[in-house]
């Protein structure tokens, strides 16, 4: 590769210098003594001069090639295959008929079963997002503001669950929520309930477990989005006589909204596509897009339907992310204000 590249590189040199000269000289004044001390006819010889003159685009391409190939083979191409598969049709016995039709789409969108699945997926996503935001916000707010010497330990404890696989944590929740689980045994032992509460094998259990599983993500996203929070503002408001509730409503809440929004997006997107927890805690009774995609692909061997459901999931993702970007822009506009934006 090095052997044949200098030639075309030289041919392309003339239009390039402005671009390539800009890169090494970016430090500005600091570079001046260096370039003055080592002018072009220096003893460095032709080798480095040649490498330096090689077009940066070409070098960049050579450096990017392995990574781009990896992405193409393991990510871009497979996704295109899903799109292609969604336009095929499935026949009986796992046979796939190669066509270009929207028949599988109309089949899926015309079936009440799949609409129920989509509805339950969205319901789960909304419930999990709301619960996760409610339980994560106080923790994130505390961690962002505290000056305690235990702060780093408390942050580590809040994020530590990420080190543990979600399969193991879901297993822990099965042991807590099951009919013979911690909650029901405790309630029974205290004589509070006669029949066990149904906390597993239904949507309730999936919501509880998913909330805990996405909590560390939400806390992390919130903390990093709480950058505008400044204790001086709160002190000023309090000193001017604002009651604590007003300080929270007028100062803390608006300043932390961007972080909350990011956390909401993250949790919603994660729970829309979550598979492990709905499968294990749902016990085969909670049908969401993720479990449905797996069952169609592996159990029913109906790849076209699985592909259509994947495309629908991606479409929901697209809508959610656009909504997030729109909301973020609206929030930013409120912070900077129209006056500042104009000036």
């Amino acid at each position: 590769m090095t052997a044949d590249s200098p030639d075309p590189a030289h041919a392309r040199t003339p239009p390039d210098p402005p671009a390539s000269a800009g890169t090494p000289e970016s430090p500005g004044p600091a570079a001046t003594p260096g370039s003055g001390g080592a002018p072009h006819p220096s003893a460095a010889g032709p080798a480095p001069a040649a490498t330096r003159r090689r077009s940066p685009g070409r070098v960049a391409f050579a450096l990017l090639l392995p990574g781009l190939l990896a992405l193409l083979l393991t990510y871009a191409l497979p996704l295109v295959w899903v799109l292609r598969m969604s336009l095929n049709e499935a026949e009986d016995g796992g046979v796939i008929r190669q066509t270009l039709s929207v028949a599988t789409f109309t089949h899926v969108l015309g079936s009440s079963h799949y609409w129920n699945v989509i509805g339950q997926t969205l319901e789960l996503g909304v419930l999990v997002t709301l619960c996760t935001l409610v339980v994560s916000y106080p923790v994130a707010l505390f961690l962002a503001r505290t000056t305690s010497r235990w702060r780093s330990l408390l942050v580590a404890l809040a994020v530590a669950p990420l080190l543990i696989s979600s399969v193991a944590r879901t297993f822990g929740w099965m042991a807590i929520l099951g009919t013979q689980g911690v909650v029901n045994k405790t309630l029974d032992g205290l004589g509070l309930t006669d029949t066990p509460l149904h906390l597993a094998n239904n949507l309730t259990g999936v919501v509880i477990a998913s909330t805990e599983i996405y909590m560390p993500f939400a806390i992390l996203a919130m903390i990093s989005g709480f950058g505008r929070l400044d204790p001086a503002l709160e002190h000023a408001a309090a000193a001017l006589g604002a009651p604590r509730r007003t300080v929270f409503r007028r100062i803390v809440l608006p300043l932390t909204l961007p972080g909350v929004l990011t956390a909401a997006l993250l949790v919603f997107v994660l729970s829309l596509s979550g598979y492990v927890t709905p499968r294990l805690i749902g016990g085969g009774r909670v049908f969401v897009l993720a479990t449905e995609i797996y069952d169609e692909a592996i159990t029913a061997l109906n790849w076209p339907v699985a592909a259509v459901l994947s495309v629908l999931l991606l479409a929901v993702f697209g809508v959610v992310i656009s909504l997030y970007l729109w909301a973020q822009k609206a929030l930013e506009a409120r912070f900077t204000g129209p006056g500042e934006a104009r000036s």
């Binding site: 996704l79 297993f171 042991a175 692909a297 790849w303």
Partner: protein, 266 residues
């Protein structure tokens, strides 16, 4: 005064409850792992290490550990080999379409694993690479490269490019400059990128579920299949062992890097 003390106490109670909720499954898993029953029960009645012995006696777990270990090591190596040059190009060179390429390298993080799993099944099944080591490694590569590119890019941005320019001015070639100047400077980012890739691949469940079969079953898939039909304390013990393992890996890397850093500065 009284009110603020009361609200402070209330805040502590709320925070304690939330932390307990967050850590509940881990605490339960730890407690159950020492129970002497052959099924899950609460409260545990005896203390034993039997469940830990069962983990090592379980062939599916042993094989799964090996499959996941080999896959994760190969994935991390490939992710570093492909990710580092890309990070170098993205941070040190200016070329047309740079921001688009950068976005492309981070975009796999936006695609849900359930869709990627299906996508990889569709493309690997006809070759046929499903249920093989190579299939698993390829499947994990796409989701780990972005993390390597990100961590290595971050340390490249913080490393001083003037040292590289000085080396080039003094006559070092591109590769020598990379090997002698850039690489030592970004070693921490390189190691953490590699470790993140390893841990992500070792833990990957959903994508593996699609591309593994009967012969090459990584550990998370083996555990998932086990948990679905049985609930005994051995899965709890296995989880505890895995947590210990990842803590050891993280601490070792931290120590190793810290040690090297102090040696260099001394």
């Amino acid at each position: 005064m009284n009110v603020s003390r009361l609200s402070r106490a209330a805040r502590s109670v709320v925070l304690t409850v939330l932390y307990l909720f967050l850590l509940a499954p881990i605490i339960i898993v730890l407690v159950e792992s020492f129970d002497n029953a052959t099924y899950l029960r609460f409260p545990p009645e005896g203390f034993t290490l039997d469940a830990y012995r069962q983990v090592f006696a379980n062939e599916a777990f042993r094989e799964g550990f090996q499959v996941s270990g080999v896959t994760a090591a190969a994935t991390a190596l490939l992710a570093v080999l492909t990710g580092v040059p890309a990070a170098l190009a993205l941070t040190r060179l200016r070329f047309r379409g740079r921001s688009a390429v950068e976005a492309a390298f981070l975009s796999p993080l936006l695609v849900p694993h359930i869709v990627l799993g299906l996508a990889l099944l569709l493309i690997l099944a006809p070759i046929p690479l499903t249920d093989t080591y190579w299939g698993l490694i390829l499947a994990h590569l796409g989701v780990t490269v972005p993390y390597v590119v990100r961590t290595v890019s971050a340390s490249l941005v913080s490393a001083d490019p003037r040292a590289e320019e000085a080396a080039r001015t003094l006559g070092a070639g591109g590769f020598t400059t990379f090997w002698r100047i850039t690489l030592p400077a970004i070693r921490p980012g390189l190691f953490s990128g590699g470790v993140i890739a390893f841990l992500l691949s070792f833990d990957e469940t959903v994508i593996s579920l699609f591309v593994s079969g009967q012969n090459t079953v990584p550990l998370p898939v083996a555990v998932l299949q086990y948990v679905e039909y049985r609930s005994d304390p051995s899965v709890a013990s296995l989880s505890v062992l895995l947590v210990l393992l990842s803590v050891v890996v993280v601490v070792l890397v931290e120590r190793g890097l810290g040690l090297r850093r102090t040696l260099r500065s001394g």
